[in-house]
Amino acid sequence: MVQDLLESSAGLMNFSIFFVLAVVLLFVILGFVTMAILAERKVLGFMQGRYGPAHVGGKWGLLQSVADVVKLLVKEDLIPKAADKPLFILAPVIAFAPSFMVMATIPLTDKLQFADLNVGFLYYIAISGLTIVGMLMAGWASNNKYSLLGGMRAAAQMISYEIPLVMSVLGIVLLSGSLNLNDIVETQQNSGWFILWQPIAFIVFFIAATAELNRVPFDLAEAENELVAGFHTEYSGFRWAMFMLAEYVYMFAMSALITLLFLGGWLPLPFLGFIPGAVWFALKFSVVVYILIWFRATFPRIRADQLMEFAWKVLLPVALGNIFLTALIKEFFLK
């Protein structure tokens, strides 16, 4: 449907349809983010022997995140005197905007997708890389030593983890012969989910994705016990909210990507095809999000230098080996 619209002539009608759809998607994601934050707090509470939010908005603290967002929005806008003002204001925007841009290529079902790019996966990686610039800017512009250290850590970490992230997916690209996310899912229809074919890649990808998302055990950029709050130490109110929002939207995007690449996207389990694809997608996706939250409840944080070592000395060679192995298998067994 969206594809037809994209190819039709540009008119006011088409534009407004597009605009409305984009706004709808925006609200779907924002809705997810508020629910994801609530879910994270509830699951963490459950795992840590406490309740989590319980009062705002009825029984389960359903409106807790909404209340938090409202509070952040009406909070006084503070900019430190010594900060680099233009950069300070620009940084959250630069960190935040790409997180929504990547959502465009992610197919939620076989029909619901905004842009069916041939280089969908590459687009995702390229755009999400921009967020680092925002973090680095925030770290620099705050004129705070903790922020600077946090920003530097963030940049170093995300750059080094992007490489194993991409490398681990190359095996899948070899098997499916495409970078298009739609095609990748369709290949899995015939061959079975790629988690079965590419278990090593899955593990590498999952670890690298957790690092990309800046989540425990790789949340060094904002390690509050060492760097107070890392690159957003000086941020408060809605600017801080933007960083947080970007983080959770990325969680959405990355979980969706893992679902698409390894868990067969909207494809159903055998004999359960009568359940619609969107439900399957949501289910698999929720499992991935749950595992990420589970990580947070379990692991301590890795040390900065060990983190870099792990990326370059362990993950990257494993990912490269996986490509080699996949190529061999494809050459000799799948021809």
Binding site: Q48, N225, E226, R296, P300, I302
Partner: protein, 366 residues
């Protein structure tokens, strides 16, 4: 070569991981610490000077506020010093209550340390588990003394309150419960690869250095020195219990972790035995005068607190207030080795090393 510049970084007094109002002035090159200078005194309340104008019983609440995580041992060291000067014989039941209170408090203190230490590495769950179990101890001590942290429980000659009905049974039930929980603690943290990577071979000092820097408590025992006042200079009724001194030879952060975890187990052993031997009847206060006057002279006693040796020196001129009172506060002495340990370490290790020293700022600043 890249030209690098040293940066001055002020850690604290308001920083999430300094466990109070502790300040460290760091000279860092990148993330490597070139020089570390601890600054203390933000919580100084002049306990020792105030004590010179207070009667002995009035000083006890002040000792609660020194090491507020393990107030029972502080209570004890003061009354123990006065009792030594006066030569008071303490009733059996009071001694058992004291030992139970002190050991429960030691467990609570180590649990709090365990939670916050792991929290420093960014894991949030252990803190909540530790607090859940510590809460049960605090409830027990609350029933005993009427307070959760600042107990003000011991008096010269005995203890203020007798154990309420059923209290001993509750303590007896708590011991196996915590033993079971400890298994879970070890499962969650002790074998965790990330945790081991962050604690092994970090912040090492040798036996000799530990003694030179006057370290005590778990910090000393983690370097392989077998020294525990409960065993080596038994006070109160500690010679009646069968327990081991936990030591480690590595002298690194992980060793300090294991020593403290082991001490929880040993304390539970003592509690178990004390519950079994607990006298059914008996006085909880010795016959002491209404207004306590220490005889002219001086005395120094030391006991094994949760963080190390707590000493109390009293110089008396026979009045109802001490002429001079001095506490040896173990956190303060344990902190001395910090600048040496931090040199050349990264900021991430700073958190691990500082956390492993286990300081309570109320005690450091006095």
């Amino acid at each position: 070569m890249i030209r690098t510049e040293e940066m001055l970084l002020n850690v604290g007094p308001q920083h999430p991981s300094t466990h109070g109002v502790f300040r460290l002035v760091l000279k860092i090159d990148g993330e490597i610490i070139v020089e570390a200078k601890p600054v203390i005194g933000y919580l100084h309340r002049g306990t020792e000077k105030l004590a010179e104008n207070l009667q002995y019983t009035q000083i006890i609440p002040y000792t609660d506020r020194m090491d507020y995580v393990s107030a029972m041992t502080n209570n004890y060291v003061l009354v123990h010093a006065v009792e030594t000067m006066m030569g008071v014989q303490i009733p059996e039941r009071a001694e058992y209550l004291r030992v139970l209170a002190m050991e429960l408090n030691r467990v609570a203190s180590h649990l709090l340390w365990w939670g916050t230490f792991i929290l420093d590495f960014g894991a949030t769950s252990p803190l909540l588990y530790a607090f859940r179990d510590r809460e049960m101890i605090l409830n027990l001590l609350n029933e005993l003394s009427g307070a959760r942290l600042t107990f003000n429980y011991m008096r010269v000659g005995g203890v203020k309150w007798d154990a309420p009905e059923g209290w001993i049974e509750k303590v007896a039930e708590f011991v196996p419960y915590l033993r079971e929980q400890l298994k879970g603690y070890h499962q969650l943290v002790s074998g965790n690869e990330i945790f081991l990577n962050r604690t092994k071979n970090i912040g090492i000092y040798t036996k000799e250095e530990a003694i030179q820097y006057s370290l005590s408590g778990p910090n000393l025992r983690s370097a392989g020195v077998k020294w525990d006042l409960r065993k080596d200079e038994p006070y109160s009724i500690y010679d009646r219990f069968d327990f081991n001194i936990v030591t480690r030879d590595e002298g690194d952060v992980l060793a300090r972790y294991h020593v403290r975890m082991g001490e929880i187990v040993e304390s539970l052993k003592i509690i178990e035995q004390a519950v079994q031997q607990f006298p059914k009847q008996g006085e909880i206060m010795a016959k002491v005068p209404k207004i306590i006057k220490a005889p002219k002279g001086e005395a120094f006693v030391r006991i094994e607190g949760s963080r190390g040796e707590i000493g109390c020196y009293i110089s008396s001129d026979g009045k109802k207030e001490p002429y001079r009172l001095k506490f040896r506060r173990p956190s303060f002495y344990n902190l001395q080795i910090l600048p040496k340990l931090l040199e050349g370490e990264s900021i991430s290790n700073l958190i691990a090393i500082l956390g492993a020293v286990d300081i309570v700022l109320g005690e450091v600043d006095g």
